[in-house]
């Protein structure tokens, strides 16, 4: 992959805390203009990796290249980082906090004021400009926090669990806002536990566990690599065919259909043929891609 297309390249990064390796020999690329899902269970090393990308800590070994440069402080101004643990000054006016965060990203005051007004309006918080954090609801604080990460118009947006604490309406709203960013050819790295959301938003994913890479690539590649070994079946009779353990590893009963997990190396076409031979009346036979959730549970669950 040519470097120009790569916003972020992590090369064999390792970070240790004493004996414990939080991240070990981790390598991946994040391409420009993509939404990159950074997934993993709690304690997998996501936050440590993100902190290295943002320049809060440095890797013990390996390198991190951002925008084609190796990690220097001034690149911080091109990153917008929304940490998982949110924080605002409790007793400070919203506008003052946003001004401060903008100043720390080197945004000139007049420009910052313009953008603050724009974003507060966009988020429906214009009336709260002079209020203090303690007067705001959790969801509102979340939105203010989001504004603080985009005020300097960053090229790379890193969002750690951006939807936690938001109601469904606001989740949809935030997804729309993020979609706008995507069309602007900005790169978004987005870390979450919510696989459905990740599946919906991300074009690329990386799943890590215990500090190491599990799978990664475009969503399509990952799913294809995982194979289409699940079949949604709605049929009458012919159940004998499903008893063959050389073909079927598991049958999960749902209300109106069954989920068939094929055995390793089994062919879906063979199963279909056997079902018809067994006299089954088939109204639905569909090869289903594994959901990200399935992949996550299998990979991580298996590892545990």
């Amino acid at each position: 992959m040519p470097e120009a297309e790569v916003t972020l390249r992590v090369e064999s990064a390792t970070k240790r805390f004493g004996e414990f390796a939080a991240v070990e020999d981790l390598s991946f690329d994040v391409r420009a203009g993509r939404v990159f899902g950074f997934l993993g269970p709690n304690g997998a090393g996501k936050t440590t990796t993100i902190r290295m990308i943002v320049g809060i800590t440095a890797p013990d070994e390996g390198a991190i290249r951002l925008f084609g440069e190796s990690g220097t402080q001034h690149l911080q101004d091109r990153i917008g980082y929304l940490p998982e643990e949110r924080g605002l000054y409790r007793k400070m006016k919203i506008v003052d906090q946003l001004r401060y965060f903008a100043a720390l990203k080197d945004v000139p005051r007049a420009e910052a004021d313009k953008r603050i007004d724009f974003w507060l309006g966009r988020m429906g918080l214009a009336d709260w400009k002079l209020k203090r954090t303690t007067d705001l609801s959790k969801g509102m604080q979340q939105k203010v926090q989001f504004i603080s990460t985009v005020l300097h118009d960053p090229d790379l947006l890193i969002l750690d669990e951006p939807f936690s604490g938001l109601d469904p309406v606001n989740v949809e709203f935030m997804i729309d806002v993020l979609a706008e960013f995507r069309t602007k050819e900005k790169t978004i790295i987005f870390s979450t536990h919510l696989m459905e959301t990740a599946e919906r938003l991300c074009s690329d994913i990386l799943l890590i566990n215990k500090g190491k890479k599990v799978i990664g690539g475009s969503l399509r590649q990952v799913k294809e690599a995982y194979g289409k070994n699940t079949i949604a079946l709605r049929s009458e009779g012919g159940d004998a065919a499903l008893m063959d353990t050389a073909l079927v590893s598991e049958v999960v009963e749902h209300s109106d259909e069954r989920e068939i997990h094929l055995a390793d190396g089994a062919d879906a076409q063979v199963l279909l043929k056997r079902l018809i031979e067994a006299g089954a009346v088939i109204s639905k036979f569909e090869q289903v891609e594994p959901s990200l959730n399935d992949i996550f549970v299998q990979q991580i669950g298996g590892a545990k």
């Binding site: 004493g18 902190r51 943002v54 320049g55 809060i56 402080q73 911080q76 101004d77 990153i79 980082y81 940490p83 643990e85 949110r86 924080g87 605002l88 000054y89 409790r90 400070m92 003052d96 401060y100 965060f101 100043a103 720390l104 990203k105 080197d106 603080s148």
Partner: protein, 450 residues
Amino acid sequence: MRKFLAVVRHEYRKVVMKWTFLLGTLLFPVLGLGFAVIPAFIFSLKGEPTRMVVVDRSGKIAPRLMANLSAESVQARMREAAQPAMKDISSTQDERMRRGAKQMSSSVLFVEYAAGGKSREQIRAELNLMAADNDIDAYLIVPDNAADPDARYEFLSRKAGDFVVSDMVKDALNEAVHSERLAEANIDETQLKAISQEVDLDTKSITQRGEEKDSESLFIASLVIGMMIYITLTIYGQVIMGAVVEEKETRIAEILFSSAKPMELMFGKLVGVGLAGLTQLGIWVISLTAIVGFLSVQSGTAEMLSGIPRVSPLMVVYFLLFFLVGYFIYASIFALIGASVTTPQEGGQLAFPAIMLLLVGFYFSFVVIRDPNSSMSFWVSIAPFFAPITMPVRILAETPPFWQILLALGLNLMAICGLVWLAARVYRVGMLMYGKRATIPEILRWVRQA
């Protein structure tokens, strides 16, 4: 640099824009002014005149007493009482109160009463009746043997609690009896006064350069300087700690660290809060000067002003330098504590040793005031942690040789470098460590890690 200035500005505004800052800044001078002005004001209020009967069948005491209680002599005594009150802060509360009372003018109105031929009991009964009818407030019965040492005077008052009046009467009576005794013994009163005049022991200290200094006012001024530095360091050290803990507790640190260098953030915080401290100190110094000025005008003694040790501009520069040095020493200690705890409560507990260190420094300033040239004073005034309080006190008490000031500054600057370095490392790691308070071995690990 721009980010550093943004941090400085932010921290400064955060302290100064708080109403507690405004309150603290204003309250201190207002309290000071209150202590200076209110007593003077209250004492200047004139109570209602006390209507008094003096029964003196000997006729020897009453005229003298009346003269002593005349408006002019009361005023003269007031002025006399006012003078030492300003200088002496070591007197007890009670003494000060009595002296204050003497400054209070209260007038006595003498009521005529014909006592001729009545018995003592009869007089008392009649006067008690008059008092009960609210015709008189008090009466004094002078015994016939007025000048004898064992003479018994009786003073009865409806306002027994009014120690102002009873003290005044007692003083005037004493004086009157005294004069009468002298007259009977044929001794000239003015001559005796001149002979028995108290020695005026004017305590001054001689500096090594042979200058004279007024040690009483020096003591007060040194104490004030020491106290002001101690108080400001304690307050602003804790402001720093609070600000650090808040950013850690609310997880703002994570955002800050993703925007600016930890060193910029910590140093910006120290400088911003320090400037706020200087603002407050500046307001205090100006208002203190104003109060002292007001007081000296109020008591009408220009002499007071000359009693205040002369502070040269160079001394002001020294005070400022040592205040800043002290501020950075203690602020970095408090920042370090703030970064290693998780809640303000924990911070309060851990801050105790640092506050003790400050307090010890403050106590050492007494050693310095008593003997600025002892070797003990030398050591405590150059020692890191103590010098920011003790050296300004010593400079005021008796300016030490320049090399000692320089040595103190140098040693303390070295301490600052070490502490800031240490605090910055703990800050870097500690600010992102949540969960529980760090132990000392953990903190040491952070220092090595950072």
